[in-house]
């Protein structure tokens, strides 16, 4: 049974070594299987919010739980149940990593120290690569793939752990329309299976045709939190961001 509940109560987060909070006093509850879109202008704290949920940044005030686990004290356990697709990746074309290697890395945290991936892990990796249509690329070096193919590989990596929550940071940047629609369809299917999806995006025309929850961030504060239809998201975000969003 998946429990992708995300609960933040008065949470403020600062970067390591800094006292100044980047996001302040954030409160919301997301129920399992919800599809959440996070919008807002540049520097609003959208990526920081994702990293807070994933337990990668120290919480300076408030309390956060993900999958019923306390983010401040059980970050590693949470990250084994949460997939996170980062923004702005760039891989060296000569880097010694094949697509298969990179996808399998998503299982490493689950396996723990000293255990090598087994046949079951390889089977799951093959299934996820097939879902994303990258099984033919398995033996190719990741650095030699296009941006869209690399994005699919990173999504596959976050899916092989069979996550309860999937966090995506600008997953549609630099993708052509066809690839955007394809990935959007994959995410829709994953949400149907009960996985909570939280996505920072400004590609509002690439959202699944379902009710989504919209969170709008501005200057580190959450200024909007409401479910709405996918075709209403852009209007809400644009209005609340003063015409700018990123």
């Amino acid at each position: 049974m998946r429990d992708g509940t995300i609960n933040l109560a008065g949470v403020s987060t600062a970067y390591e070594g800094s006292d100044r909070p980047v996001i302040r006093d954030i409160s919301f509850t997301i129920t399992p299987g919800e599809f959440v879109v996070v919008g807002g202008p540049n520097g609003a704290g959208k990526t920081t919010l994702l990293e807070t949920v994933n337990g990668m940044l120290p919480i300076t005030r408030g309390r956060a739980t993900v999958c019923g686990l306390d983010v401040a004290s059980r970050g590693y356990e949470i990250r084994r149940r949460v997939g996170y697709v980062i923004q702005n990746f760039a891989f060296d074309p000569l880097a010694p990593f094949t697509v298969r290697d990179v996808v399998m890395m998503g299982r490493y945290g689950l396996l723990g120290y000293g255990r090598r991936p087994g046949e079951e892990d390889r089977k799951i990796a093959r299934e996820v690569m097939a879902l994303l249509g990258i099984e033919d690329l398995a033996g190719r070096p990741i650095g030699k793939l296009s941006g869209g193919q690399q994005q699919k590989v990173l999504i596959a990596q976050s899916l092989v752990k069979r996550p309860d929550v999937l966090l995506l940071d600008e997953p549609f940047s630099n993708l052509d329309l066809g690839t955007r629609d394809f990935i959007c369809g994959v995410l829709d299917g994953i949400a149907d299976e009960g996985c909570t999806i939280m996505m920072v995006s400004h590609a509002f025309d690439a959202l699944p045709d379902r009710e989504v929850r919209v969170l709008v961030m501005n200057d580190g504060h959450l200024i909007f939190n409401r479910p709405c239809r996918a075709d209403e998201v852009e209007d809400h975000v644009r209005t609340l961001s003063g015409g700018h969003h990123a």
């Binding site: 070594g17 990250r79 980062i86 990596q157």
Partner: protein, 275 residues
């Protein structure tokens, strides 16, 4: 250990020391070059160098002092870069300068005082007068380096790929990183007397850089880099001693030449026909 193969004791000890030092340094070198943190190796090398020089000045064992100095750098590096809120590279640059200055200060001062202490092996290495204990210590650290990579292979691979992605995958990046720093600190300190503070960095970086020109998987890098390092170091030590040539510099020059050849022959850099 290799007396059954090499009858001359001096040559035998030199070959053994070079074999173990090259394996330890090159295995760890794969990690630091792939993580783009070669400057950590550079700083650690000079911390060991400074520690040994200061240790000898104060009448301590040079190797023990080198280990303590480089371990100190390993321990303070992470917290220092966090507290100072500066890029790690800047911190490393400052530490490197400081360590080099300390080393030169003590070496120059000992020469000025005419203490009679020979510090040239700290600078350029010395494979002739080695104690058996030094070779055993090197053998242990080379085995430890190999075991470290074998045990944490998947974690190391993920950290090499991308630290943030590794952390997001649920891997504990910090303990792996600190274990790596610890292993580098011990390895460079124990290798200092043999290779010398000015050349040690070559053993950390160049074999991994040569292997990188030909290897398309991380596993191959960990196999080829120590193989290249051990072959060149052992052959260099043997030839150098046979012909009374300075062993450390000779091997370093061969490494550098091999790197240039590897870049020229690298299949990774070949543009496929039709592109």
């Amino acid at each position: 250990m290799l007396e059954f193969l090499i009858l001359n004791n001096i040559v035998c000890h030199a070959v053994e020391a070079m074999l173990f030092a090259s394996i330890a340094c090159s295995v760890l070198g794969v990690i630091i070059t792939q993580m783009n943190i070669s400057s950590i190796g550079f700083t650690m090398t000079h911390a060991a160098f400074a520690g040994a020089a200061a240790g000898i000045f104060f009448g301590l064992d040079g190797t023990v002092a080198a280990v303590l100095a480089s371990l100190t750098i390993a321990v303070i590096l992470g917290p220092l870069s966090e507290k100072a809120r500066m890029p790690t590279d800047t911190i490393l640059g400052i530490l490197f300068g400081m360590m080099m200055a300390i080393a030169i200060f003590f070496i120059s001062y000992m020469q000025y005082l005419g203490t009679g202490v020979n510090t040239s092996s700290l600078l350029f290495g010395n494979v002739v007068s080695l104690y058996r204990e030094e070779i055993y210590a090197l053998a242990l650290i080379s085995i430890a380096a190999v075991l470290f990579v074998l045990t944490f292979f998947k974690e190391i691979t993920a950290v090499i790929f991308n630290k943030k992605i590794a952390e997001a995958a649920g891997i504990r990046v910090r303990p792996i990183f600190y274990a790596l720093l610890f292993m580098i600190a011990i390895s460079v300190s124990l290798s200092l007397n043999i290779i010398g503070g000015l050349l040690l960095y070559v053993w950390l970086v160049t074999p991994a850089a040569i292997a990188y020109q030909f290897c398309s998987t991380v596993r191959d890098l960990f196999l080829v880099a120590p193989l290249v390092a051990a072959t060149v170091s052992v052959t260099g030590a043997w030839i150098g001693l046979q012909h009374s040539l300075p062993v450390g510099p000779l091997i370093a020059v061969v490494f550098s030449g091999l790197f240039l050849v590897a870049v020229l022959l690298s299949p990774k850099r070949r543009v496929p026909k039709g592109e």
